[in-house]
């Protein structure tokens, strides 16, 4: 049995070698299909991982509370247009919640920041001093404003690197300097440590942080808050903290037991799974597209195998005349088809690795090649070969030796 298969593999190999060019062209579909499956999965996995890392870097204990009904599914209301979160809510949480280590209200606006002749469009975040603890952000210079400064609505600000660079292009020390945001003067008391671009392509250093009271009164002229940001005592307690916040806020808002929340609480875990499922969907889509080219590759193999069987009808007749059984002929052509598809698969995997390295190196996208993507591509190739090789091989195997020998 072993020698028999070995002999048939030799025969199939010989046929492939004798038709190098044709075989290579036939493989092309498989090669491109496999290479794109590998690269697509690597991109999908890479972005999923980096989103996860990114989110947990933002503080995996972090909990966001926004006004409005459930935003997942259905129409999302612009959070800032709703006014259902009040400072009293923040105070209630600060007072009653046992599972939260820090809480801050948050209001934000965008506008023009100006220092003399330099101006720069940016965003201002009105928060309490705990904001830095929640975000796990550090200062590279100066200090954060204090609770007292919040209480007095002091016009002080902590700024990000990008803002510093644009307002102080000559490299002066910004600490103690006065800048204006939407014509309101602010004294810079601290500079945030540089964080670079987030994976969502956002410049995290393009920010001004100021007491929420100041931003509420001077910039936005509102008395409600746009969101509350908190951090749970631990990552494990995050879900329990979400429940606790929900209970406190429902009570605070006098929501009846049958009514829906008029706010939204979500932990980082939920955010991670939301993003993961989005990127998973994207991966599925990419792989589906890549699979189509694999399918086309398979059809290419089937086509070439039909041609091969037809061309070699006399050879098949002769092989049968000297003692080849139907199964010998079937296996010979099946092995040929599988060899073509699997060789195409190997080349495709290598090409996929190359493409992945290229994408990572040149485009700078995060990528991860998972072993299962390689194994699956391989299995798919072998199955493609068997599936699309079967009918032509079967056709060869049932030929009548006498008419095959007479075939012109």
């Amino acid at each position: 049995m072993k020698t028999r298969i070995l002999n048939l593999i030799k025969i199939a190999l010989k046929a492939i070698v004798l038709n190098k060019m044709r075989t290579l062209l036939t493989m092309l579909g498989i090669i491109i299909g496999v290479a794109s499956v590998i690269a697509m999965l690597a991109i999908g996995e890479g972005s999923k991982k980096s989103i996860k890392d990114e989110i947990s870097k933002m503080g995996s204990n972090m909990i966001n509370i926004r006004p409005g009904a459930d935003m997942r599914g259905g129409v999302r209301m612009g959070g800032s247009e709703m006014q259902s979160l009040k400072l009293e809510d923040y105070e209630a949480l600060k007072e009653k919640a046992t599972l939260l280590s820090y809480v801050t209200p948050q209001v934000n606006g965008s506008g023009q920041s100006i220092n003399g002749a330099n101006n720069w469009p940016t965003s201002i975040y009105g928060v309490s001093p705990e904001y830095l603890d929640i975000k796990i952000w550090e200062l590279s210079e100066g200090s954060m404003f204090t609770s007292a400064e919040v209480k007095s609505a002091a016009k002080v600000a902590v700024v990000g690197k990008t803002v510093v660079e644009n307002l102080f292009p000559n490299g002066e020390d910004p600490i103690g300097k006065m800048i204006r945001f939407n014509s309101i003067p602010f004294k810079i008391i601290g500079v945030l440590e540089e964080k670079g671009e987030s994976n969502f392509g956002q410049d995290q250093d393009d920010i001004i942080i100021a007491p929420y009271t100041t931003v509420q009164k001077r910039i936005l002229a509102i008395d409600y808050i746009q969101s509350i940001v908190a951090s749970a005592v631990s990552e494990e307690e995050a879900e329990a903290a979400v429940d606790e916040i929900t209970t406190i806020l429902r009570e605070q808002h006098h929501i009846g037991s049958n009514d829906d929340d008029d706010f939204n609480v979500f932990s980082m875990d939920e955010l991670i799974s939301t993003f993961s499922s989005t990127s998973e969907m994207l991966t599925v889509l990419l792989v589906a597209i890549a699979s189509i080219s694999l399918l086309i590759g398979g059809i290419g193999i089937m086509n070439i195998m039909y041609v091969s069987v037809k061309e070699r009808t006399r050879e098949i007749g002769l092989r049968m005349a000297v003692g080849a059984k139907g199964t010998d002929i079937l296996l010979q052509f099946l092995i040929e088809a599988v060899l073509i598809s699997v060789t195409g698969g190997i080349i495709g995997v290598l090409l996929g690795f190359g493409a992945t390295l290229f994408i990572q190196g040149v485009l700078g996208w995060p990528t991860i090649i998972t072993p299962y993507s390689v194994i699956i591509s391989f299995a798919v190739c072998a199955i493609t070969g068997i599936f699309f090789g079967w009918y032509p091989a079967r056709k060869a195997a049932v030929l009548d030796p006498i008419s095959a020998l007479r075939y012109e």
């Binding site: 049995m1 020698t3 028999r4 002999n7 025969i11 010989k14 004798l18 006399r314 050879e315 007749g317 002769l318 092989r319 049968m320 005349a321 000297v322 003692g323 080849a324 059984k325 139907g326 199964t327 010998d328 030796p401 006498i402 020998l405």
Partner: protein, 248 residues
């Protein structure tokens, strides 16, 4: 006389062509014994190839019995027939039927590839021996395109010998060759026959038939004559008597 290699009795073969039925063989009975060199003759369409295909286990008779080397084959299935062909029969065709772009030795090895009892070393040894027997020991690595018609047919003969068959069946093996080359091939057959090979040979040329020891003549699917040749021509001597090649 040696043992009976082929024993057929009232062999019939009908071909159904839509409504019409062609009776290619209408009840043929004959025996072929070990060591015989039999020619089967007859005009075109008389049933020679049909009979040879049945003898070669490439085809099943419609009715009648057939024993090869004592094995009744009329009722065997396709795979069993393949094994009989592989182990007991050597087939030679008019158009050589060598695998293109494949060396002489690889062509000769072909039947043994389908016999997993034979190791690659044994296969190679037997194939080069067979090629030596047909005088092509220095052409082993040549492909058919690099060989003349006569040499190609010699490779085919080596291939038919390599499995040490009980009978060699040749269908118009000299049909594509000129007189001189035909005689060379016949000399080879005679030599193989002298070494004990049983041969059944289809031809419609009487001068070729004269090299064999027995002639069977078919007509319309019947055997109309079956007799021993009283004076067998020696192909090697006839070859020597042919006019020189450059005068042809």
């Amino acid at each position: 006389m040696g043992k009976t290699i082929i024993e057929i009795n009232d062999l019939k073969r009908d071909f159904r062509m839509g409504e019409e039925v062609v009776h290619a063989l209408k009840g043929v009975s004959l025996d072929i014994h070990e060591g015989e060199f039999v020619t089967i003759m007859g005009s075109s369409g008389s049933g020679k190839s049909t009979m040879l295909n049945i003898l070669g286990c490439l085809d099943n008779p419609t009715s009648g019995s057939y024993l090869i080397d004592g094995v009744p084959v009329a009722q065997l299935n396709k795979n069993e027939l393949a094994t009989i062909r592989n182990e007991k029969i050597g087939f030679i065709f008019q158009s050589y039927n060598l695998l293109p772009r494949t060396t002489a030795i690889e062509n000769v090895e072909l039947p043994l590839i389908y016999n997993s009892k034979i190791s690659p070393e044994e296969r190679h040894r037997r194939s080069s021996e067979a090629l030596k027997m047909v005088g092509l020991e220095d052409r082993m690595d040549h492909t058919p395109a690099q060989l003349s018609g006569g040499q190609q047919q010699r490779v085919a003969i080596a291939r038919s010998l390599v499995n040490d068959p009980v009978i060699i069946l040749a269908d118009e093996a000299t049909g594509n060759l000129d007189t001189r080359t035909s005689y060379e091939i016949m000399a080879l057959f005679q030599e193989l026959n002298r070494k004990g090979k049983t041969i059944a040979f289809v031809t419609h040329e009487p001068d070729i038939a004269a090299f064999s020891s027995r002639t069977i003549i078919l007509k319309d699917g019947h055997v109309i004559k079956d007799e021993m040749n009283t004076n067998v021509n020696d192909a090697a001597r006839e070859l020597a008597a042919l006019p020189k090649e450059d005068e042809e």
